[in-house]
Subunit: 190 residues, 2 copies
């Protein structure tokens, strides 16, 4: 998605050789109008895909899941929680995701009532790196007897192997901007 | 907002005498179409208010901040973070909010570059209880030399005194459904 690559180059900032910071429009400040264009792009790429529900994870994925839901005829959006609130009292599905960048492990939780057998659930997230988060979300979908309709990421760090890992599991993956490498403080796209 | 009260009565569930769980449409599963109606209601109630930016807090406020931004002509949405990511390296404003229900203290953080002197910033959140979160967000706005344009909450727990506290500070508060009390497992609205 050319408009997205342009925005990353103009507004993003590089930290070291691994991290691109896009907090001006994606995951701290949010440019809702631009995220609606991202939603339309996901709709185009998954034009032939039936989507009953969108699953993401707090907090970075919530905004794009919502603007994308508009473009898919408003399926319910569910976001996995990283901590179980005291009100999550009816049992939940759970899966573990390691963040290699942060060196932390999160346990994603989704209330059982929000994943139903036979549903086609699309996974969306702001970043796709090693694929750990998407794998954890796909495990939750499968625990509920539902099916992964596809996986969409706004920005993929191509050098971390996540999309390859997910495609090997048989999932369709669409990333709107794939970063091949970061070199001399510059982002190089595929 | 009658449609909201109806939805709370139909889909919400009461836990004890203090908590109403609305995870089917507001803060775990998200009904984006309904949240767009909530955005329109905020626009009506703040029809005479100039809004340069919307400030909320992760994760519960992000969805309604995004759908409301659409109705206000797409001002940027900023969500305060409860933990500083490693990429938040240019300094941030910070304020403390105690959760009386959870017995925890959060330190809300907003990168300094997202609050600018003279801006009119609207605070939005899913719940208004004691007002601690809104007070913390208003402190962040004032640290940045900006101004609170108003405070909007989807659901107010009227019995926790938050709106009174905020109005005493001179802020305009609009809550779309005010719960007067919870009695015998039932929600009673104002």
């Amino acid at each position: 998605m050319e408009a997205l690559k342009k925005k990353i180059l103009e507004e993003g900032s590089v930290i070291g050789t691994e991290i691109v910071k896009v907090d001006t429009f994606l995951n701290h400040q949010i440019d809702v109008k631009f995220l609606e264009k991202i939603g339309e792009e996901f709709r185009k790429r998954f034009a032939d895909t039936e989507v009953d529900k969108i699953l993401t994870v707090e907090a970075g994925g919530i905004a794009i899941a919502c603007t994308t839901a508009e473009c898919f005829g408003y399926p319910p959006v569910v976001f996995a929680k990283k901590a179980a609130p005291s009100t999550m009292n009816e049992g939940f599905y759970e899966a573990e995701a390691r963040s290699f960048t942060k060196g932390t492990i999160s346990r994603f939780k989704v209330d059982r009532k929000f994943i139903k057998p036979g549903e086609r659930v699309m996974i969306l997230d702001d970043f796709l790196a090693s694929g750990e988060a998407s794998v954890a979300l796909s495990e939750i979908i499968e625990q509920g007897g539902a099916e992964v309709a596809g996986i969409g990421a706004v920005i993929e760090k191509g050098y971390q192997g996540g999309s390859e890992r997910l495609r090997k599991k048989g999932y369709r993956v669409e990333s709107l901007a794939v970063i091949r490498k970061i070199e001399n403080g510059k982002v190089i796209f595929d």
